[in-house]
């Protein structure tokens, strides 16, 4: 611990079970770094945590304007949590725009820390405001802490070799230091991070460490607060070794792991697209794992190169978001026809078209399941949290390799950028599903479209002597794979491909119901609504409501046993961040049940209270 750790200890210390902080500033203010550093430290202290970064699509919108506001919400807790929280307890606002965009979310009586150095008349005008929110009543009902961070940082870094502009860029670490003081956190992890990050520029490391420490010390010296707070380590977490992970990191790691569990290497062909890009970036850094990464000229070339990689014997992977999925559609159909393994990761974002690139939405379920010409079934699985994205990536690899099929893995912007503790898996306990390459012709001759017990065809790498054959997108004759226009054969092959994908159901479990085996209401979810649903159902059950929940990882084909589960509840609620795409699928698959769709399409996750309000309304019917 630093020597600053115990200064000011005479202030009373209050224990909290969990706290939600939102850092908000200009896109250039470094709020994402501030938030992720706070998260990092909370993780090391053993808190359970969840984060929600929320930033604009523009890299640097005009400074000080509302569209340029970037936010990072982190919730850290001494108990098990599922969401980054409905309402921040503390809002850090670096300028008027950040304040006005975020203040409406702050919990009543919450703390708002305002950088008054950025609240001159021209700053207020830049934010498009007619009056200064510091004085016009906007902040009534909140605990307002005013600090001129611009000036504080300037003083703290007097004599620094940095230019005045660069000095001001250390503001975020001053802010972070202040929050570390308020929540009784150590500075060491961030100091170590800064030293590592700016290893080649020690003057930058030094300046930021000074700003961080000055912020921390300000808590003692300035009498800004009446108390300090503590959030004890979470004791309900499953024992094990943890690290903090975002959804995109988990997908990248899961794909490398999935390939290795199949005795394969990853070939990733991708094209940068928000919010999926960092998966490609991360896999490009895993070359020592044998990963071949190819940044293609477009989305189409990306998936086509990945199919080529699979044909050559790698595990082909492509990563994208909704607009890229649309472009990859034709090639997905080819992959269905070629019957080669392929993992397509769709990190969903708001649509249609370019839509809301940095905002989350469960936009593409129907596109994933049905969005191809003709009968082109593809298994679809959906990650529910950042750490679940690891397991889902491994599962996608398993299905792709065992069934010789493309598989779509759905994530979304909320999972991709959000972080939570990940309990590190025991390598030896992970499932293995080694790929079986055919290397010699079986008795009776080699048939490229013969099938095994899973209806998967043989995988033959070019370069294998004696098994030369041709594959393509024209309909193939059963067994031989030769071009065939025969009507009966086409009917047979269409049904065969459908049966193969439907057969994936035999390898997946019926999802667990959390709560009672029967009751008044079952809340069914898929994807990133998991946290909100889990929290809401916990609250409902705490109130004595007979509510249970079930989350679908495999959204196509649907697992066995759902019909019986649905029959055990008086009502079924499906909250989705779309206009009811899963509800539509379930209505067509399970026609004897009624499904109540609850939609929100704001580019934001459900708040727990919104779901509880809906649950209350249904139960009151």
């Amino acid at each position: 611990m630093t020597q600053t750790r115990n200064v000011g200890a005479e202030l009373p210390s209050q224990q909290f079970e969990n706290v939600v902080i939102r850092f908000a500033g200009d896109s250039g203010d470094g709020m994402q770094i501030t938030g992720s550093q706070f998260t990092h430290t909370a993780a090391l202290l053993g808190n359970d945590l969840a984060t929600f970064p929320d930033f604009p699509a523009e890299i640097r919108a005009p400074a000080g304007t509302q569209p340029g506001v970037s936010g990072f919400q982190v919730r850290f807790s001494s108990s098990d949590i599922h969401t980054p929280g409905d309402r921040p307890d503390v809002l850090v606002a670096m300028n008027p725009a950040a304040l006005i965009v975020n203040i409406k979310d702050l919990a009543p009586g919450g703390i708002v820390i305002v950088n008054t150095g950025q609240f001159a008349e021209r700053d207020v005008a830049k934010a498009g405001l007619k009056s200064n929110p510091m004085t016009d009543g906007t902040l009534s009902g909140y605990r307002k802490i005013e600090i001129d961070i611009n000036d504080r940082v300037k003083r703290a870094l007097e004599g620094s070799p940095l230019s005045p502009k660069d000095v001001q860029r250390c503001k975020n670490f001053y802010t972070l230091g202040l929050m570390y003081w308020l929540y009784s956190r150590p500075l060491e992890p961030t100091i170590a991070w800064l030293k590592d990050k700016f290893g080649k520029k020690p003057e930058l490391a030094d300046a930021n460490i000074k700003a961080l420490t000055a912020g921390f010390n300000a808590g003692d010296i300035q009498e800004l607060f009446q108390a300090r707070y503590e959030v004890a380590p979470c004791t309900t977490m499953v024992p094990g070794t943890y690290r903090n992970i975002t959804g995109n990191e988990a997908v990248a790691i899961g794909l490398v792991a999935g390939a290795e569990l199949a005795n394969l290497k990853v070939f990733i062909g991708s094209y940068p697209i928000t919010p999926a890009t960092s998966i490609l970036e991360q896999l490009a850094s895993y070359k020592h794992y044998g990963v071949v990464s190819f940044q293609a000229e477009d989305e189409i070339a990306a998936i086509c190169s990945a199919i080529g990689g699979s044909y050559s014997g790698y595990l082909g992977v492509t990563t994208t978001s909704g607009p890229g999925m649309a472009l990859k559609t034709e090639a997905m159909g080819l992959a269905v026809s070629l019957e080669l393994p392929l993992v397509i990761v769709d990190v969903q974002r708001g649509g249609p078209s370019t839509g809301l690139p940095t905002k989350t939405e469960q936009a593409d379920l129907l596109q994933a399941i049905f969005g191809r010409n003709s009968e082109a079934p593809i298994p679809v699985i959906a990650a529910s949290t950042p750490s679940d994205a690891f397991d889902c990536a491994v599962e996608a690899c398993r299905i792709a390799v065992q069934y010789m099929t493309p598989v779509i893995l759905l994530s979304d912007g909320y999972i991709a950028n959000g972080a939570e503790p990940w309990r590190l898996p025991d390598v030896d306990k992970l499932p293995r599903f080694p790929a079986k390459f055919t290397t010699v012709a079986p008795e009776g001759g080699f048939l490229p479209y013969a099938r095994d017990e899973k209806r998967a065809r043989p995988w033959v790498k070019p370069g294998t002597p004696g098994l030369e054959h041709r594959i393509g997108g024209l309909e193939k004759a059963h067994l031989t794979g030769h071009i065939s226009y025969d009507p009966e054969n086409h009917d047979f092959m269409v049904r065969m491909r459908a049966a193969k994908v439907a057969g994936v159901r035999d390898s997946i479990p019926t999802p667990a119901v959390v709560g009672d085996k029967q009751g008044d209401l079952l809340v069914v979810g898929w994807g990133s609504t998991y946290g909100s649903i889990a929290s809401a159902v916990e609250i409902a059950r705490g109130k004595g409501q007979r509510v249970s929940r079930m989350h679908l990882r495999h959204v196509w084909p649907l697992p066995a046993g759902l019909d019986e589960i649905f029959a055990s509840y008086k009502a079924i609620l499906i909250p989705e961040m779309n206009l009811g795409q899963l509800a539509r699928v379930l209505r067509s698959e399970y026609q004897r049940h009624e499904f109540i769709s609850y939609s929100k399409v704001q580019g934001l996750p459900f708040k727990t209270f919104e779901l509880n309000d809906k649950i209350d309304a249904i139960l009151a019917r």
């Binding site: 993780a43 090391l44 053993g46 490398v256 792991a257 071949v292 190819f294 990689g309 041709r470 594959i471």
Partner: protein
């Protein structure tokens, strides 16, 4: 195994009936390619033919090698993936003027500029054949087709100029009816390290019959074409009496004895480019042969070298290290 012996043309014929129209130029290209490939000393299981969509793209089905008939225009992307994942393979790509320059123009540009070690045969018949006769991106302005009943208004692509502009390291042109020349050109492409584009003038007997007759006809060929042979004088004509000279940004006809010696490896692709632009001048011979052939870093080798270097530097990655890294903490 038969692969240890030299291949014959017959070894490379698949068991599938060839289904191009009788008289189609594709037959002679298939035949020449089989001949050239049989002579490369490469076992056929190491060969992969990749194609897109169109008449030409049926080609892989007729080769007794590995093959993939993919989707329209995207063959370069599949070929790139195949070659990156297994650089040992000999990868050939078959495409047409529509597949390679219209719907797939983007991918063609990128495979050429990256210099992926793939040999590309671009069958140019200046028409869409498989969809039954619409103008293509290489159709001449004014061509009347079903979708251009009053004549095409489009200005055509010049495939050689296009490839040179993309930074292609090997660009050549040949003619389907000129068998000897075609085989020599395909052999030169096969020998090139890196991407090689061969434009093949190919006659579509059904929808654009005779479009290349004015230069490709056997009685006219000597006077109407000039073979660009690196290291040889730019001489043409029945009597080998005429020649070409590159002057500044243009080409001039000169007596044979004043002709330039052709170089396909100049620092600038300029000479090859001005040569490719002769197409628009009916008084000049049409250049065929090797426009450009230069050595450059090969994409697939660079990608694989990075993987090797990373393994050498960091050691082959272990799963446990992938998980157990960064800041961790234990919950007991």
């Amino acid at each position: 195994m038969a692969e240890t012996q030299a291949l014959t043309k017959k070894d490379l014929k698949s068991d599938q009936d060839v289904r191009w129209c009788p008289g189609c130029g594709d037959y002679s290209i298939l035949n020449s390619a089989q001949g050239v490939l049989a002579g490369l000393g490469i076992p056929r299981h190491q060969m992969v033919f990749v194609s897109g969509i169109g008449c030409s793209s049926r080609f892989p089905y007729y080769m007794n090698t590995y093959g993939m008939h993919s989707i329209h225009g995207r063959a370069p992307a599949f070929a790139t993936g195949i070659k990156l994942a297994n650089p040992e393979l000999t990868v050939w790509l078959v495409t047409g003027d529509g597949d390679g320059l219209s719907i797939g123009g983007n991918h063609m540009a990128h495979i050429l500029r990256r210099n992926v070690d793939v040999k590309i045969l671009l069958f140019n018949n200046e028409i869409y054949g498989l969809t039954k006769g619409q103008y293509s991106p290489t159709s001449r302005t004014g061509l009347k087709t079903k979708t251009s009943p009053m004549g095409s208004v489009d200005r055509p692509f010049n495939p050689v100029s296009f490839a040179l502009g993309c930074g292609a390291t090997f660009v050549a042109r040949t003619i389907d009816t000129h068998l000897k020349h075609m085989e020599a050109t395909l052999a030169a492409a096969a020998a090139h390290k890196g991407s090689a584009l061969v434009e093949i003038y190919q006659n579509c007997v059904i929808f654009n019959d005779g479009t290349f007759d004015s230069i490709a006809d056997k009685t006219l060929r000597d006077d109407k074409t000039i073979d660009l042979e690196p290291g040889k004088p730019l001489v043409f004509g029945k009597g080998r009496d005429k020649g070409l000279k590159v002057e500044g940004f243009d080409v001039r006809m000169v007596p044979a004895e004043s002709a330039d010696v052709w170089r396909a490896d100049t620092r600038s692709a300029g000479p090859a480019f001005v040569m490719s632009q002769l197409d628009s001048d009916p008084t000049m011979p049409r250049p065929i042969g090797v426009f450009r052939s230069v050595a450059a870093p090969i994409f697939n080798e660079g990608v694989q070298a990075q993987v090797r270097d990373a393994v050498a530097k960091k050691g082959a990655g272990k799963l446990r290290d992938l998980f157990y890294t960064g800041d961790m903490w234990d919950v007991r």
